[in-house]
Symmetry: D2
Subunit: 359 residues, 4 copies
Amino acid sequence: MSNTFGTLFKITTWGESHGKAIGVVVDGCPAGLEINEEDVQKELDKRAPGQSEVVTSRMEDDKVEMLSGMFEGRTTGMPISMLIYNKDIDSSKYEKIKYLLRPGHADFTYQMKYGFRDYRGGGRSSARETAARVAAGAIAKKLLERHGIKIMAYVKEIAGIKAKKIDYNEIYKNNVRCPDKNAARKMEQAILKAKNEGDSVGGICEIIALNVPFGLGKPIYNKLEADLGSAILGINAVKGIEFGSGFELAKMKGSMSNDEFVLKSNNIATKTNHHGGILGGISTGMPIVMRAVVKPASSILKKQKTINYKTMKQESISVEGRHDPATIVRFPPIAEAMTAIVLADHMLMSGKMNPDKLN
Amino acid sequence: MSNTFGTLFKITTWGESHGKAIGVVVDGCPAGLEINEEDVQKELDKRAPGQSEVVTSRMEDDKVEMLSGMFEGRTTGMPISMLIYNKDIDSSKYEKIKYLLRPGHADFTYQMKYGFRDYRGGGRSSARETAARVAAGAIAKKLLERHGIKIMAYVKEIAGIKAKKIDYNEIYKNNVRCPDKNAARKMEQAILKAKNEGDSVGGICEIIALNVPFGLGKPIYNKLEADLGSAILGINAVKGIEFGSGFELAKMKGSMSNDEFVLKSNNIATKTNHHGGILGGISTGMPIVMRAVVKPASSILKKQKTINYKTMKQESISVEGRHDPATIVRFPPIAEAMTAIVLADHMLMSGKMNPDKLN
Amino acid sequence: MSNTFGTLFKITTWGESHGKAIGVVVDGCPAGLEINEEDVQKELDKRAPGQSEVVTSRMEDDKVEMLSGMFEGRTTGMPISMLIYNKDIDSSKYEKIKYLLRPGHADFTYQMKYGFRDYRGGGRSSARETAARVAAGAIAKKLLERHGIKIMAYVKEIAGIKAKKIDYNEIYKNNVRCPDKNAARKMEQAILKAKNEGDSVGGICEIIALNVPFGLGKPIYNKLEADLGSAILGINAVKGIEFGSGFELAKMKGSMSNDEFVLKSNNIATKTNHHGGILGGISTGMPIVMRAVVKPASSILKKQKTINYKTMKQESISVEGRHDPATIVRFPPIAEAMTAIVLADHMLMSGKMNPDKLN
Amino acid sequence: MSNTFGTLFKITTWGESHGKAIGVVVDGCPAGLEINEEDVQKELDKRAPGQSEVVTSRMEDDKVEMLSGMFEGRTTGMPISMLIYNKDIDSSKYEKIKYLLRPGHADFTYQMKYGFRDYRGGGRSSARETAARVAAGAIAKKLLERHGIKIMAYVKEIAGIKAKKIDYNEIYKNNVRCPDKNAARKMEQAILKAKNEGDSVGGICEIIALNVPFGLGKPIYNKLEADLGSAILGINAVKGIEFGSGFELAKMKGSMSNDEFVLKSNNIATKTNHHGGILGGISTGMPIVMRAVVKPASSILKKQKTINYKTMKQESISVEGRHDPATIVRFPPIAEAMTAIVLADHMLMSGKMNPDKLN
């Protein structure tokens, strides 16, 4: 698949950090969905940097253009092409370090695999590409909304500081996308401290999907955990994912981790949700709960040792440029987008949404 | 994909726990590989239960038959069909609880999704199916061996007890597949204690791939983490996966988590391996390191509350039958198999292995 | 895809002409379909040789076994594995010509591509494999029947002799699967004449699908012609396909080839059917009509020049063994099967059939 | 797949006839290919209309922009996005016939399938979309050129007039893309005659691929005929395809249609080429030869009966606008493009071309 993701609801993204533009083709959206550039822009704005001291100063004044697949305000069932021109590009910082492999980045692997690379801003390996996913996710979200499905992602932990309460209304009121006002303040301080030291921090993002109907997920190889896992692990800097009680399950007994079945308003549900809304790879109707770990931003000012692959000599590097000290704070809308894309795909694959036209 | 996994090296599995047989079709193995039923059987035997008190007493005396794709001891490039007849089946225990949803199992989701299910032994949702994956993995492993790639999986943690040292020779000398002899003894005790209480335990499995060449993984949506993640998260009872330093990265600073580049015998390598052998979704040549969490076995004798979906009444259930109190101890060969399948697929996709005939 | 065909309704076939068995895994059949081995056997019997002088004397006494995906007489939504053991195998004839490339056969290309091949009876390249497709097609047909869709294939032309009338009841009453009794007699004579001369004949098969609902086909790259074309052109010996008026369209004017729209019992239909039931790659509700050309059987007794690839010397070859002098007469059930598989797949892809359970 | 075509070398096209733009994302091109907008433009110009009286007067002054996947004049292995803005659009003619189903067009099927459609110029179903395929094909062609593979398509027959000789140099010297100067003149007259009568004509295009190495094609379901067939049958207005001697094989005997093997400069080749360069679905090294039939253009001035789907009443229609009276004359570059895309894909799939970087 490489640059295409999905089975029936599919996205194909393209573009580099410092190229002319980035974009996405969304294929498989049923005909008849009312959506416009503002709907997509709204999601993009949630991801946009340049909003506070805790993110990069690069102004990604992203304006999305919808080029196809729409007619009279509605989708036609044809592929939807969306394009965002790259602006405010400054490649000068990259020119002078082009032979130095930035630790933690994909410079080394791209150089070795392709024998050659667009070194400006990380090229295709830059998180810049994720804006295209967010644009595609906006369409998936709009589809899911019709079925009452709601996806929310937020920062659960940064630099060891954990959110202690979950207030959805709080998430976009602070600069770190944390649902706990107090924790948010401390997280922000930790980020700024790291930034001042020329360093960066990592964190954990929690993603919740509410009102997902039972029956999504296709055993044996398209279980919901496998497809959501693939989607989230494919986002830059993610190094782990867990569902429900996740790694805590290693310490539990079966009598505790098994969620007992009960009746809730005459429907079968589970009393607890250690299973994170998925059993046997199929959604149970309980909230889908997952958490992803995002590693500390790789671009840091602090000196690190590396190799100049032209001279094959050891050198040291200090990565200048405009970087995020905590990429985690820009991660939630991307995670929401990829989650929405997987769920929209499974709504189609399980016959809960008509693939040709909205009913 | 559903019951097919992979792009160029592909497996299609079929079969239920208490059906006539289970099997797999392996498609995409290049011509010329010397392999036979004993090679496959050897892997299957590593997974087989009935070997100690810590596993189920069901005797899965699995004998694999290779039915196609072979000629004069070598693969022909054609699909390899392998079949294992189910023996020692006892479905009587399932008959009486067929309307009771076993907590932690897929009974509920299969029943709701398909409106009907083979309830005997969990049907297709049973871990019985993983024997087919192990058979397929044996072929992938044999292919990888030709390139010096070695995959090892072992139990890192059970019921809070952690392996403190990694001695590969130790793994298959104990009943819990643990590379630390002392920890193994304690783990075994913990499992037996849980078993006696009619309960079960969970754990963590670590998977290592050595000598993987740089360059495997295809950005943006077939990054190695995404494809390995999908493979491992698709195995029964897995609820999380992490690569390299994984969830610990949430607490690190960039200056620590970034692995500095150094020269090792004139090749570029990293000093540390927080990245777990993958950067930008592409293998770096360092060992690939991942860990998966396996939830406690769902089948327990202890009474739990559940719903009878025929009467829609609350009942209690005690899951009798021959069950593993710690499915984690049978997990390592399955994890090795799925890892081998993903790596073989990527060896083909990156042009490091010829898809038609072995060179 | 290689040995897997389809998107949502998928088949994976395996097996060689003189191997232990051949088989197929059908994935994506919704749960709840009543079907049994007799239903499948009935289709296989239509394809079976050994029924008259115009076909090979090899007795393919095929008995299909269904090994999975069924419970209490109904499909469960899980993969259905079907297996047919190979019987009455005689490989001796192939041993002595194993280095001689049989003209018209795949010996040369398999040998060159894979460096090695199962030469017994053509191995995987033998039409023997198509029995597996017919078994899979039986399931697809049963699914389509629920929607009133009926597929019929018959011989339209053999050795220049054309069917002049189409009487569906006649097709399986003669040895050549021709819907015209008189033409059938002449065709049979032409085949026997060729057989006696150590030669073979080719022909044309017409395939009709009735009651196909409008809306099947997914532009731009899964148009119905593209998917049906891929399915039919992938059958052994097929060298061409045409839809509706096909190659005759090259001589027509638009005013004639355009099918005018009319009302039929208050529904929009076309007056004529030059378009063969497909416009813009999507079914119109009119009968789908296609024709495939099947080349003369490649195995002939008559001496032909060839190369011994071991000695790289010119030799002559006379292909002994039990062969069909007119493979076309065994083609109709295979064409029906592949057509059914494509249509079942598109019924799912267009949301006209629920992928999880039959409604 | 829908709007994505290919396995390793993949194209995703988007855009409508009268939308803002059309475009394509090419995924899977190895890194290191030197190519630029002029190379692509050259192919587009071969397809461009407005070049003579025998084509539409719409000026498709297509200028392609390459937006990604390139760096310093070479491909980077990342997806290549190409965009062509739509110019010279006049939708007024379509407004007034928007409820009338144009015979031969996809109006009816799109309207029924999607419940709604972009009626301007046929929307997505317009042959306008094929410009995107031609752009993608330019990249595939450039890749194949490195291996000496050359693809040529030309008009073999129009309105019953056949090319009697094949002079490759002649093809682009006349307005009808015919390799026979004399036939070209007659074809042109036939087209103009039809045009003056408010009518249109159909024809046959022959496609040749030279220097294709043996070994392309993947049995059983990605035989070269199946994949090329799917590619060509997916182009607008194509209603049939044949390989080698094609439908003539129905009348041949095996002793004639079988191509005998001979030695040519110490390599195994066939004396004749009835098989069209493909045996057992795999290329033999002989020229690949195929022919496609293109139906007469559907848009004609002549009055035809149709239905107004709003009033559900019979009406008559005369399709005004700027149309090609013989779409066949614009077909060759599109056929070349799709053929190149399939062959490039199979060069990768058979390991004859490295997927990461050109060697």
